[in-house]
């Protein structure tokens, strides 16, 4: 189906792991900042955004893996 540099499922896993790492870094960055920091609001919002994206990537992977019988 896809013209990707890796097989679709592997590329999907790689991107999901990358997004998960960004989400973890964003969460850790937020924890490190004090609430009075000018960056606190953005880092917290960005962490929430990345966690939500990652969770739905995982859900999407599970759904596609089931439909396409990868698992």
């Amino acid at each position: 189906m896809a013209n990707l540099p890796l097989p679709y499922a592997q590329f999907f896993q790689l991107v999901t792991i990358l997004y998960a790492i960004i989400a973890v870094v964003a969460v850790l960055w937020t924890k490190k900042l004090s609430k009075s920091s000018r960056y606190y609001g953005f880092s917290k919002a960005f962490a929430i955004f990345m966690v939500v994206v990652t969770v739905f990537l995982v859900i999407s992977y599970a759904a596609q893996a089931t439909f396409m019988k990868w698992i």
Binding site: M1, A2, N3, L4, F11, F12, V15, T16, L18, Y19, Y40, G41, F42, K44, A45, I48, F49, M50, V52, V53, F56, L57, S60, Y61, A63, Q64
Partner: protein, 195 residues
């Protein structure tokens, strides 16, 4: 609609569009749960990125919609074998839909934090209206190019409206209710269209 805030457009707004466009691209590439309808390319499914760029547009105005457009243009584009017309058309529809939603929010002075029942009702109605209008336009272009038949146009509009609205109402609501109050403290939060 207010188009310029007192601070004006800053280079940071472009950075916001680029960064979130990149994030949306990965999501657009993979996170769709497709419900295939024979003869209807890219027209149906649970389109997860829609939830992202609708929320981004309520936070960052035009720049959020641009992020969604960049993401879907890259994510849908060269990898899935659609013709240029189909994916460029789809990505343009994904640019208009959140902007229509934003226009309704600005016109009604609704708050993206969705704290009140009024704001929640406006959110639900505006998502369905904007998604339906975008899907009509997207499938009209596909019909005009002879990609789909008129019978499929009707089913395309219904399927697209249901699939995108469901994704936006689940993911977008989650994002707006949890992250909006924090993004409001960000200097590049947009109160009008561009700034």
């Amino acid at each position: 609609m207010e188009t310029m805030g007192k601070d004006g457009v800053k280079p940071g707004h472009l950075v916001v569009a680029g960064v979130f466009g990149g994030i949306c691209a990965g999501a657009a590439l993979f996170s769709i749960i497709i419900v295939p309808i024979p003869g209807l390319p890219g027209g149906s499914g649970f389109w997860i990125p829609a939830g992202l760029y609708f929320a981004l547009t309520l936070w960052f105005g035009f720049w959020g919609a641009l992020a969604g457009h960049i993401g879907t243009f890259i994510g849908m584009g060269p990898f899935f074998g659609f013709t240029f017309q189909v994916w460029a058309d789809g990505a343009l529809g994904d640019f208009f839909a959140p902007l229509i939603n934003l226009a309704i929010f600005r016109a009604t002075k609704a708050d993206p934090e969705l704290k009140t029942r009024r704001d929640q009702a406006i959110w639900v109605a505006s998502v369905v209206i904007s998604t339906c209008l975008a899907s009509m336009w997207i499938h009209f272009v596909n019909y005009s190019f002879g990609t789909i038949t008129f019978n499929l146009w009707k089913w395309g509009v219904v399927a697209y409206t249901i699939g995108d609205s469901a994704a936006v109402l689940i993911i977008g609501t989650l994002l707006l209710k949890t992250a909006t109050k924090y993004f409001k403290t960000f200097p590049y939060y947009v109160k009008g269209l561009f700034s």
